[in-house]
């Protein structure tokens, strides 16, 4: 947000700018002040910096300072500013418009500074300038200063900075290649021809060699198999036209033959743009039209007059392009049907294959996550792809698992490795190089600058990656505010996460158990395939479960409840969840109940010498709960289930057996009660006294009816004749 102070400063700068252009004798003073304001302005004060740069841009690039001498004398002053904004601020999410202005300013001052260096050598200044120049040249043709996606898509991104870079490259080529003595009509044509052999550091041969390489590089990009966006194509053509005039002997033939040979139809569409057929068709149409205009200039301005053969070839090409444009108009511009003939298709197919060998597999191959979230770390597809908005967590787990397994089976190892490497690099980048988002602890480092972003030497595109967030400047601004350069030199430790409160722990545990039951119970089916069983066995051995079935999860949960948690309250919480699950359908879940209660019993007695659990222990408590919840709802058809429960519960005492009293006293279900008692009397001798005690109690109970007393009496006579 712009503060009042900033607004006032902005107004003052605008006034100063006006004064400098109206009275150019003030220019030097105002330029000095503007540069010092810009150098002293933090990077987050974008508007102030932009205003300063706009003034310098107008003075040098737009030549609002008419005097060549004045511009030339003052040009050296911008070196410090460019060094500050491009090199020193490289790590701080450079603003796109600032960088574009800087490139333009370097373009407008490069020849002027060069002239100053020729006349008044200053090696330090030249070295500084060369650093800035080399850094910018190394960014071509990446998406600098935007973060990269992939080489082909990046050709269509950051067009404004790219075109500024092309113009800068044109300027460097012009300055660093020797001027032709025969060309005298170019105003202020500064070149390496001006360097004296005795110059202390400017070496004609080195500079010329760099310029020749840059020229070759421009032709390489032009001749690339991938279709260039029109903005880029026309800018290179425009730059070539300038060099064609200024340094003809270095490019005339190549340039003329390129114009003649250019065929948009043979260019292949960027890999991830192929679906945008209309856009691609329009780009080809525009590039062809620019080619036609250049041919027209060469034909009509006398460039080809000396070579009739070449002129004829150009005329043929011109007519071909006119016919092609007419055909296209007649077919309709929206008709995007593939009209390539077989030969063209074959050429394009070969080109596509060649490009695929270059290992460009994903749209977003950036090694730096665009923001600090998992989506940014894992996203390898187009950022505006609708799939990025899809919430994968809505897909059921088993479907998700199938999808992942299918994908893993189909994907090539190379693609998988590349994808994982990109994700890994992004993760490492976030965890090792940043910053305030993690709000970690600052640990001063003895290794100065260890936190500084490393150049990604292994970046396969030869692009220096940068820290840049697409979400604007806020993050970088916070960084700027929070730390100065010195503070950034150190290691960060990711902070320890906040400990859960006990209440939260309970809530989370209940949630885990609920999810466990919900996800596992109904969906796990017995799988009889041998291979699957063997895989299962390996994993289940660790759990001491022989084979995974529908009830296995009960075992896992019950063990977790009885022995897995150190905190009693949390164990109880889990027990309650398990018990509530059983309670919902006790009859059909009796196996689980028995298993669980056995686990409870075992865990209670395993550290004691006896077999008797504590009266108020978990086993006795939940046995009582179970019987209380089961008995009232039993009917005579549940005989097998109930007797099984009574027989398999590992320990019974008087209090538990007495719960059969209500069953025995119920006229409708008393048979079930007595059958259970009979079973216990016959097959569980340890509880015989308690069973007989219950029968005696019921016999002596005044509230018992005659039929109940008679039944009790019969059993007592038989099993306790005394």
């Amino acid at each position: 947000m712009t503060t009042n102070l900033d607004s006032k400063q902005l107004e003052q700068l605008k006034e100063a700018e006006k004064l400098a252009f109206e009275h150019q004798n003030f220019f030097e003073q105002i330029l000095d002040t503007t540069i010092s304001i810009c150098l002293g302005t933090p990077c987050n004060e974008f508007r102030l910096q932009y205003q300063c740069l706009s003034f310098i841009h107008k003075a040098f690039y737009e030549k609002k300072i008419d005097s060549f001498e004045l511009r030339s004398q003052q040009s050296v002053k911008v070196i410090q500013l460019l060094d500050y904004l491009i090199i020193r601020n490289e790590e701080r999410s450079p603003n796109y418009l600032i960088i574009q202005k800087c490139i333009d300013i370097l373009n407008a001052t490069y020849d002027l500074i060069f002239l100053q260096m020729v006349q008044n050598p200053n090696e330090d200044d030249w070295e500084r300038l060369s650093n800035v120049k080399d850094y910018l040249l190394s960014q071509w043709p990446s998406s600098y200063p935007l973060q990269p996606y992939n080489p082909e898509t990046d050709l269509s991104r950051s067009i404004a900075c790219k075109t500024s870079l092309i113009k800068l490259i044109g300027r460097i080529i012009q300055v660093q290649l020797p001027a032709s003595p025969s060309i005298t009509d170019i105003e202020h044509d500064i070149s390496v021809s001006m360097i004296k052999t005795s110059h202390p550091f400017l070496l004609n041969s080195n500079l010329s060699s760099q310029a020749q390489n840059l020229l070759d590089n421009l032709f390489t990009v032009l001749n690339d198999d991938v279709l260039l966006p029109t903005g880029l194509f026309t800018t290179i053509m425009s730059t070539m036209m300038t060099l064609f005039k200024a340094r003809p002997k270095f490019l005339s033939n190549k340039f003329i033959m390129f114009i003649l040979a250019y065929e948009s139809q043979l260019k292949i569409e960027p890999r991830f743009e192929r679906e945008e057929k209309l856009k691609m068709k329009l780009t080809k149409r525009f590039n062809d039209r620019v080619d036609k205009c250049l041919i027209s200039i060469l034909l009509n301005k006398g460039f080809l007059a000396k070579d009739p053969g070449l002129r004829t070839r150009f005329e043929n090409k011109f007519n071909y392009l006119v016919d092609k444009a007419r055909d296209q108009r007649q077919k309709g511009i929206l008709n995007v049907d593939d009209d390539d003939d077989l030969e063209v298709k074959e050429i394009k197919r070969q080109k596509v294959e060649a490009i695929q060998r270059n290992n460009m597999l994903f749209y977003n191959e950036s090694r730096i996550a665009r923001s600090h979230d998992y989506k940014s770390i894992y996203n390898l597809i187009k950022p505006n792809d609708q799939l990025t908005e899809f919430d994968m967590s809505t897909i059921p787990t088993d479907v998700l698992v199938s999808m992942v397994i299918t994908a893993l089976q189909k994907i090539s190892v190379a693609k998988l490795v590349k994808g994982l490497t990109i994700v890994s690099d992004r993760y490492k980048d976030i965890t090792t190089n940043t910053d305030s988002a993690f709000q970690g602890i600052y640990v001063p480092s003895t290794n100065e600058g260890s936190l500084k972003r490393k150049r990604t030497d292994d970046d396969e595109f030869g692009i220096r990656t940068r820290m840049k967030t697409d979400t604007g400047n806020d993050i970088s601004n916070e960084i700027d505010d929070a730390y100065n350069d010195d503070e950034l030199k150190g290691d960060f430790l990711v902070p320890v996460p906040k400990e859960f409160s006990f209440k939260s722990k309970k809530e989370q545990l209940a949630l885990i158990v609920r999810n466990f039951i919900k996800q596992s119970a109904p969906k796990i089916k017995q799988n009889n395939s041998t291979s699957d069983q063997s895989i299962q066995h390996n994993a289940l051995d660790k759990l001491a479960i022989s084979i995974w079935n529908e009830e296995s999860w009960v075992k896992v949960l019950s063990r977790l409840a009885t022995r897995g948690l150190a905190n009693d309250e949390l164990s109880d919480c889990m027990r309650k969840s398990v018990f509530n699950y059983f309670k919902d359908d006790m009859r059909n879940r009796i196996d689980g109940v028995i298993e669980w209660l056995n686990e409870e019993y075992y865990s209670e007695i395993r550290d004691t010498t006896g077999v008797q659990p504590q009266k108020d222990g978990h086993y006795m408590t939940y046995c009582a709960f179970t019987l209380d919840n089961l008995i009232p709802f039993l009917d005579s058809s549940d005989r097998k289930v109930f007797i099984r429960l009574m027989s398999e519960l590992p320990y019974l005492d008087k209090s538990l057996i007495s719960k059969l009293r209500s069953l025995c006293k119920d006229p409708v279900r008393s048979k079930l009660g007595f059958q259970s008692l009979l079973y216990l009397i016959m097959f569980r001798p340890p509880v015989l006294p308690d069973c007989l005690g219950l029968l005696t109690d019921m016999l002596n109970d005044a509230s018992s009816d005659d039929a109940l007393k008679k039944e009790c009496s019969t059993y007592l006579k038989k099993y306790s004749p005394q």
Binding site: H188, S238, K279, K292, C293
Partner: protein, 207 residues
Amino acid sequence: MEAHKVLKDAGYTVRSYGTGTSVRLPGPTIDQPNVFEFGTPYTKILEKLNTQDLKIHKANGVLDMTKRNISIKKAPERWPYYNQPPQRLPPSEYPEFENELDFQVVITCEERCFDSVVEDFFSRNYFEPSQTQQPVHCFNVEIRDEHRSALTGAQAILDLARMLSDAHAKSLQDFSAPPFEDKIPDIITEWQQNHPATPLLYALCYH
């Protein structure tokens, strides 16, 4: 000129030019066109038309068109070709423009005119290598030279201008948005889909 009027009414800073050698209007007969030099005031053109068969000029719309043009600018002007004598109004007529090529966007209405303008810019790149650094986005919106097409064509041009200026304004306000120049191919594609009968051309030139 219809496009000039529509763009001016919409608030854009506009200048309009012809690219031919002179201004040609239908005359009393098909083999006697009215030919005027660029720079001839529309009032004088109207005076001449008034001396001819008014029925014909009313029927072919030339009279109305000239009256409309009087309300837009003083006289027709010629594109400021490199190294050619100027045939345009004095700079005082256009205080908003710093010079004769002070444009961000040039829109032509015939492919022939587009070629002339683009070739002129390339010629400047060649003949004035130290002066050609300012980018200008050139478009051609093909419009047939008759009244009805001029009306629909002017609206199509206004659509294009709005799409471009909206994107430009947004890129200056929202730094997280893609830069303006990166959006141009998508804007062109969208515009072309909306105006399938008007084939577009585009080039990024420098002066």
